[in-house]
């Protein structure tokens, strides 16, 4: 806390001076640029396109047979069996008979670009394991857009993905949401106006990464909690210092701006609700504490990632408005993954107001999020659930969009939403199904039938 004392003192002095000199001239106001690396994303070439005669899963709970999807100017214009002729006039028609259409797949947990393929030491840029709190680092500053895995993920229907820093730290840094479009720069992929995410991690990783040396906290789960709390105490002070500066300035005073601090810029963004929490947190009791931590410091605890034990606290998650992002069957690699059940997602989902998400955290699994969803649906249905295709698609589309704060823009096939669309050559919950064509903002970015729409990374070009 002492860290911010000087600026607080300055503010106090300036208030004192004000009493003597009401006409003091103001210095230019100091403001923090919240978007210093802005998106330069541009949709690829596109024209109005009508997809016809498909089985359509809208991502909003509906399954439409023999239905059409119309994309105009990068947006979904209409979905259904009965689209007015005047709307479709001039559109390129793609016959999708016997095919299925879903919204573009969204992965809320990816390390593509920051842990790229090949896994060269020089490209291992996902985990700033230098301090338990590295809220100052931004994953977007590590993304290698040439990671060949972006292309493979697109072939699996992934149109949007959040790149997170790794999980060694209590507070690991900012994540970034990207559109899965080929680009030579990170900015060219950046999802315009998507909120930032903040990666936090519970449990074994932070205590293992630091406590093992027995010189740096945390080495226990209670040390983890102390670390988060200390960070948010300091962040609260920082926010108060800025709030005061802004209020005084607005009142016509000439206060000295608090010293910028990248770490607390990010945590201040959390406290102000602008940055969403994405918390690597497996265990029921730890998620419950992270919910309370959010309440203690007046921020929302966001999405729990890898929530292996989500099923044990499904009610709590739903009541508190937390999304939970889960795998069907990762387990056995660490104690906190010991209580895996394949039906976890289904049990989290079964509660009213829930937000169940299937995520990958893997450069290979990201290519098959539809199949990961299928595993859960069929296993759960064998054990008393009654899940439908039109419902479970939400786990990798609309619920994922909600988790990332972009549900108003993508994640479902509804008029006005971005035309992020996948055409599958069959039921996407079959092991044999493949994405046939993928669209981002109405532009074709992948076509299994046309090599012209199969991107190749610079790295793979010319390899023997």
């Amino acid at each position: 806390m002492s860290k911010f004392a000087p600026s607080l003192t300055v503010i106090a002095m300036s208030v004192a001076l004000l009493g003597c000199n009401q006409t003091q001239k103001q210095d230019p106001q100091v403001t923090i640029n919240k978007n210093p690396y802005p998106s330069t994303y541009q949709a690829l070439p596109r024209s109005a396109t009508l997809l016809t005669n498909a089985t359509v899963l809208t991502g909003k709970g509906e399954k439409l047979e023999q239905a059409n999807v119309l994309m105009v100017d990068g947006k979904i214009k209409a979905v259904g069996t009965n689209i007015a002729d005047e709307l479709v006039a001039g559109a390129t028609v793609i016959d999708a008979t016997d095919m299925w259409i879903t919204p573009g797949i969204i992965d809320v947990h990816s390390h593509l670009g920051v842990y790229p393929s090949p896994s060269a030491d020089a490209h291992s840029d996902g985990n700033e394991v230098t301090n338990p709190n590295t809220a100052e680092v931004w994953a977007e500053h590590s993304v290698w857009p040439q990671d060949p895995a972006f292309n493979r993920a697109r072939e699996g229907g992934v149109t949007t993905l959040q790149i997170l820093p790794g999980s060694a730290n209590l507070i690991g840094g900012r994540g970034v949401t990207l559109k899965n479009t080929p680009s030579t720069t990170m900015q060219g992929m950046k999802f315009p106006d998507a909120p930032y995410g903040l990666k936090m991690a519970c449990g074994e990783n932070p205590k293992g990464a630091y406590g093992r040396k027995q010189t740096v906290a945390p080495m226990t789960r209670m040390g983890n909690m102390a670390g988060y709390r200390q960070a948010f105490i300091e962040a609260t002070e920082y926010k108060l210092a800025w709030d005061k500066y802004e209020a005084d300035y607005a009142a016509g005073l000439n206060p000295k701006a608090p010293e910028r601090d990248l770490t607390y810029d990010t945590l201040k963004g959390v406290l102000e609700g602008e940055i969403l929490i994405h918390n690597h947190c497996y265990k029921a009791e730890e998620m419950a504490m992270m919910v309370d931590l959010g309440k203690e410091f007046n921020y929302h605890s966001g999405t729990f990632h890898h929530a292996i034990e989500g099923y044990k606290i499904a009610d709590l998650l739903a009541e508190n408005g937390n999304c939970a992002a889960m795998w069907p069957d990762w387990w056995g690699f660490k104690m906190e993954a010991n209580d895996m059940i394949v039906e976890n997602v289904a049990m989290v989902d079964a509660v009213k107001n829930s937000c169940a998400v299937v995520h990958s955290d893997s450069s290979t699994t990201i290519q098959r999020l539809n199949q990961e969803t299928a595993k859960i649906m069929y296993s759960a249905n064998q054990h008393g659930f009654n899940l439908t295709e039109e419902h479970v698609i939400s786990w990798i589309t609309s619920n994922a969009a909600k988790s990332l704060g972009i549900a108003g823009k993508t994640g479902s096939l509804e008029a006005g939403k971005n035309a992020d669309v996948v055409i599958w050559n069959g039921n996407p919950f079959s092991v044999y199904a493949q994405a046939d064509k993928v669209f981002i903002d109405g532009a074709k970015v992948f076509d299994r039938q046309d090599d012209a729409y199969r991107a190749k990374s610079d790295f793979m070009l010319g390899q023997q």
């Binding site: 090949p118 060949p148 056995g332 092991v431």
Partner: protein, 411 residues
């Protein structure tokens, strides 16, 4: 409570069947679509009769058995065989006290059977994927030699280990420190020394060979397969030369670049054990990974084994790998062979086929065994019916059961 029915039924059937089989009665499965994994291919409306744990009749004209199970048109496959994983050696990967692999001191004689735990919770979970038998691989060691594989069944019983000292596992290719050359030289030197020693020992017969010498001798006589992990084409070529020079029973593991040398590998009759899901250039040794490699190799005449190498906990997903291989161009029957008969042939097992004389390792499926929508109706290992309930099912049921008491009381 609907979710509870399935497991209760399975348990009661198991309880009902076991005493009958102990008395060596015969069991018939009738009206099944049988994937034999033999030249007989797929038999429709077929039946199989087992006695004393073995298949004694396949599709006889008249079915005569003490117990008859009507498969009602369901698909009967050989039990799937996992390969080159540490099942039963690792309980929780990151907990060193639960891990009996990756010891620095592991060498050629490292024997997984000394630690194999048939009570591992990973085993019932693997059974859920139709895996009935497994090749447990050693791991670790500071040289290229990690030890020898063992063959186990997945009954979870104390007598699960079927065979030890089965195949020698060798790890080649890129090194984090140092050169791959040293590894390859090490292998060549061992084989050369072994050859020389053999020539000498003909004259000097009373000298007892070392354990290592016995292993190398078995390799040189072609009795013991050598499973060589290597990805890069240049390493694969060296290994092909090695097979030709020493006439060893060579098997490639992973072999990302195999697709560039498919004809040479097929001609040299070298099986390839691979993870069909690898399609990223994970390293500079594996730039040619692709989902269609399994199909391409198989079409070129290579005996392909599909596996999930290195993973003790998710062998159950092997059938989905096979499905993905099919979706990416592998012939369906080839994919079925790749997780049954090809594994048996590669490791010299008496298993992997529904054929007279084979152990009755069989799985009855509700539908296409590679599909997510299908599940196991029944499975047998050595003729004994197996439960497909795992710890995961018990956990799920605990948390799905409504109670006024804390979940800790629901068992």
């Amino acid at each position: 409570m609907k979710h509870f029915n399935y497991s209760l039924v399975a348990i009661s059937m198991l309880a009902g069947l076991l005493p009958a089989l102990v008395q060596a009665d015969t069991l018939a499965v009738t009206n099944a679509k049988i994937y034999t994994s033999t030249e007989q291919g797929v038999l429709s409306n077929a039946s199989v009769i087992i006695e004393d744990g073995k298949i004694i009749q396949l599709n006889p004209d008249v079915v005569n058995a003490d117990i008859i199970i009507d498969a009602k048109g369901g698909i009967l496959t050989p039990g799937f065989i996992g390969a080159m994983n540490p099942l039963g050696l690792v309980e929780v990967g990151q907990e060193k006290m639960t891990r009996d692999t990756n010891d620095k001191a592991a060498d050629m004689t490292f024997d997984p059977s000394l630690a194999f735990n048939p009570k591992s919770v990973a085993i019932p979970f693997a059974r859920k994927g139709g895996i009935t038998r497994n090749i447990v691989a050693p791991g670790g060691g500071e040289t290229i030699f990690s030890g020898q594989t063992i063959e186990v069944t997945l009954t979870g019983e104390w007598d699960s280990v079927v065979a030890t000292e089965q195949a020698l596992f060798v790890s080649l290719g890129a090194k984090h420190e140092g050169s791959r050359i040293i590894g390859m030289q090490n292998l060549i030197n061992k084989l050369e020394e072994g050859q020389k020693a053999l020539a000498k020992s003909d004259k000097d017969a009373d000298k007892t060979p070392s354990k290592e010498a016995l292993i190398i001798n078995a390799v040189l006589s072609g009795d013991k397969p050598v499973i060589a992990y290597a990805d890069r084409g240049s390493d694969i070529l060296q290994l092909i030369k090695l097979k030709q020079r020493f006439n060893i029973d060579l098997v490639l593991l992973q072999a990302a670049d195999a697709v560039l040398l498919a004809d040479e590998i097929a001609k040299a009759k070298i099986p390839v054990i691979m993870d069909a899901m690898r399609n990223l250039p994970e390293s500079f040794d594996s730039l040619h990974n692709s989902l269609d490699n399994a199909g391409k190799l198989s079409k070129a005449g290579v005996k392909v084994v599909l596996a999930t190498p290195g993973d003790a906990h998710n062998n159950y997903a092997l059938r989905y790998s096979a499905g993905n291989a099919v979706a990416n161009g592998m012939n369906y029957d080839d994919a079925m062979a790749a997780i049954t008969s090809n594994v048996a042939d590669t490791f010299h097992l008496e298993a992997g086929r529904i054929a007279v004389g084979m152990p009755a390792d069989m799985v009855l499926w509700s539908g296409d065994p590679f599909e997510y929508s299908s599940h196991i109706e029944k499975m047998w290992i050595g003729g004994e019916e197996q439960s497909t309930e795992s710890r995961q099912d018990v956990l799920r049921d605990r948390y799905m059961t409504k109670s006024s008491m804390p979940q800790a009381y629901t068992k």
